[in-house]
């Protein structure tokens, strides 16, 4: 187990190195000049040249990337070009909010998605089943911005049950988490349904029923734990989807996460922030996948990862 974790952590390092190189290269070839964004519209050519030299942006790509990597290895993510603040400070100020929203969002997805999946599997082929599958299709296709605003309008503005956006209390968390939960639940509902149908056909379920166990007990104790394995793997992949999708939901609900930070940095070509957020997101995705892989053998002792 320890060797496995070690090997995977080395992989994580290599992936991050690759991600940093590709992102840095893309930002380097981008037809937009960060120095112009810092210097502003009234700058003289002398000012522009001075800034370019101070930031080392007049150096060749290899030197620039080398410097960045050297800093990174010492734990220095650089300073924001426009905010003149350490990138690590800016990210650390916002990361907890993003992680909290991600955890709550995934929890909401699981509750909604698994419930839908199980119900659809138990009443397979009936109106309930097709109704739920139709719903899951609609939720995965719905635009995040619209769903977020709709929930905000109904439950915060009209009914007044929750605050209109913001951050701080559990009540603030409900609507953004619910938005993410509804939007992502369709994937889980479909995976859960097919996995459950497969398990319900298995011999051990028939045996359990035959020996006279109650139907609810068979479903909850025998079928569910066996059907949930593909869902665990799905969570690992989902973290990646979350990192991409959280930007819009954070925006609508005024949630102070790293999605908003990344969005603004991209607009203004603030390279150190873009690099920092990309690396932190990549880190979250690979670690999330690692965690999902490690969880599988805990749930199903038959599976051993080598």
């Amino acid at each position: 187990m320890a060797a496995l974790v070690l090997r995977r952590l080395i992989q994580v390092g290599l992936i991050l190195l690759g991600v940093s190189f590709i992102t840095f290269f893309l930002l380097y070839v981008l037809p937009a000049d960060p120095v112009r964004q810092i210097a502003g519209r009234s700058a003289t050519p002398q000012t522009v040249a001075n800034i370019r030299e101070q930031l080392g942006l007049d150096q060749p790509f290899v030197v620039q990337y080398g410097r960045y990597l050297f800093g990174l290895l010492q734990g220095d993510m650089g300073r924001s070009y426009l905010q003149k603040t350490d990138v690590a400070t800016l990210i650390m100020a916002r990361l907890p909010a993003s992680l909290l929203l991600m955890a709550a969002g995934i929890a909401a997805e699981l509750v909604i998605g698994l419930t839908m999946g199980v119900i659809a599997a138990l009443w397979r082929g009936r109106a309930v089943d097709s109704g739920l599958m139709m719903t899951s299709f609609v939720t995965v296709s719905a635009p995040q911005f619209v769903v977020a605003l709709l929930l905000l309008y109904i439950f915060a503005v009209k009914l007044g049950w929750f605050p209109i956006g913001g951050y701080g209390t559990p009540a603030h968390l409900v609507l953004p988490a619910l938005t993410l939960g509804i939007l992502g639940s369709g994937w889980y509902a479909r995976i859960m349904r097919s996995s459950m149908i497969e398990v319900l056909r298995a011999d051990f379920i028939r045996t359990a029923r035959a020996k006279g166990l109650a139907r609810s007990r068979v479903i909850l104790r025998h079928a569910l734990p066996n059907a949930i394995l593909p869902v665990i793997a799905m969570i690992g992949i989902d973290i990646g989807i979350f990192m991409g999708g959280i930007v819009v939901v954070e925006g609508v609900f005024g949630w102070p996460g790293i999605g908003q930070l990344a969005w603004q940095a991209i607009q203004r070509v603030d390279i150190p922030i873009i690099m920092g957020v990309t690396l932190v997101s990549a880190c979250a995705i690979v670690l999330g996948n690692l965690l999902a892989d490690l969880m599988v053998p805990l749930i199903d002792p038959r599976i051993r990862i080598r």
Partner: protein, 538 residues
Amino acid sequence: MKKLLASTALIAALALPAFAQETLDPNAKSGGGIVVTYKDDVATLDPAIGYDWQNWSMIKSLFDGLMDYVPGTTELRPGLAESYEISADGMTFTFHLRAGVKFHNGREMTADDVKYSLDRVTTPATQSPGAGFFGAIAGYDAMADGSATSLAGVAVIDPATVEIKLSRPDATFLHVMALNFASVVPKEAVEAANGDFGKMPVGTGAFKLSEWTIGQKLVFAKNTDFWRAGLPYLDTVTFEVGQEPIVALLRLQNGEVDVPGDGIPPAKFQEVMGDPAQAAQVIEGGQLQTGYITLNVTIPPLDNVEVRKAINMAINKDRIVQLINGRAVVANQPLPPSMPGYTIDYKGYEYNPDEAKKMLADAGLPDGFETELYVMNTDPNPRIAQAIQQDLAAIGVKASIQSIAQANVIEAGGAGTAPMIWSGGMAWIADFPDPSNFFGPILGCSGAEDGGWNWSKFCDAAIDAEATAADSMIDPAAPERMKMWSDVYMKVMEQAPWVPVFNEQRYTMKSARMGGADNLYVDPVSIPVNYDYVYVKE
């Protein structure tokens, strides 16, 4: 009327006696707090760095410069300087500082702080986007190339007197001293912040920063030691960031927000203005802004002035104004109407597609030509670009639209590779209310260099010389000077490097509990609101 007000005001400021009288609003109440929202996070509150319309007014409330403006107007008045003298040749400015002005850290402000602040903003290490504004101060060039660490032209005569010598006459110098970049900062606080002064600002302004939760909110608290007696009225101003404009509007309707800093979202504009109760909370005003199409004079066939004139006559500006719900007035010249130097009796190029088509044919292009129109990719700019595209198609010009991110448009404009650019989202807004501010960087030869903001690459030596002559006059508001500037822009229009399209109006919405004169809510220099002078009624 506005123009008259502005120009007479400038003359008054020049002749101003030492003591400016402050008449306070008799209805104003002290106390209470307001909530202002923004979509974007606040990048910095360092007056040497901050250069977007969001932090501009915030910095104005935290810091002061030697010069200032009368609230709600473009009228100059002394700020931290109590009075000033200008030598007969216009090359030496002597500022007498107000006594007893304290920084937020309790220390008294002196002439040394003024000198330190000007040295700081012009030192290359500061990376100030405003350094170039101080180019007229003697010794600026040595600062810019790194051969000096202090401006030779700025001298401390005594703790209450600063003398600034210029290397060339600059009619706009008092306006420059009113820019945020000229704010006075305390050296010890800058050094203590260790490079992060933008997050730990210390000034002499009406408010001080009391709390900043990154990505969430900033709280400004009243500076009880503020040197303008009786101000500010508000105890706190809370800025909540990361708020979608549409959500901010919902929260305002719910009584949670007082001013949505990003304004009324376009999709909700008609709904708000159609409801008398809400429309009463909206204050409309002009702003020193022009939206325009640049025509690159170095790219054929746009290098032919007749072709550029034809394009000027092909654009249906009224329709473009309708596209943005009428939130603008049609423009016919680079200067906005409220700017001194605006030419009132100029009619501009009339909208006449038939005549335009004929002019194209006369220029040897009876079948039109193909070109590209660059535009920033956020609403409403792509829709405006489509309207321009249709207008051009009507005279046979096939323009393909390049709808890309702002930074990429700026890059293409600076490099001179874009034949046409619609300026929306990046349009020029004046740094200070003087006609010269619409020339140099965007229509003059200095801005036409590679990477400059003059996207037409228009450079006419004779016009440039006239502009320089106008700025060499001592009195910025002298009628001859305004006439020269008017003349400069008329000559520019003869060459037609731009299609001036519209001047955007400002609409600030506020909660019913907010008080203060209307012009504080459309203040030309403090956008959206002059925080120092507004108050809450209850």
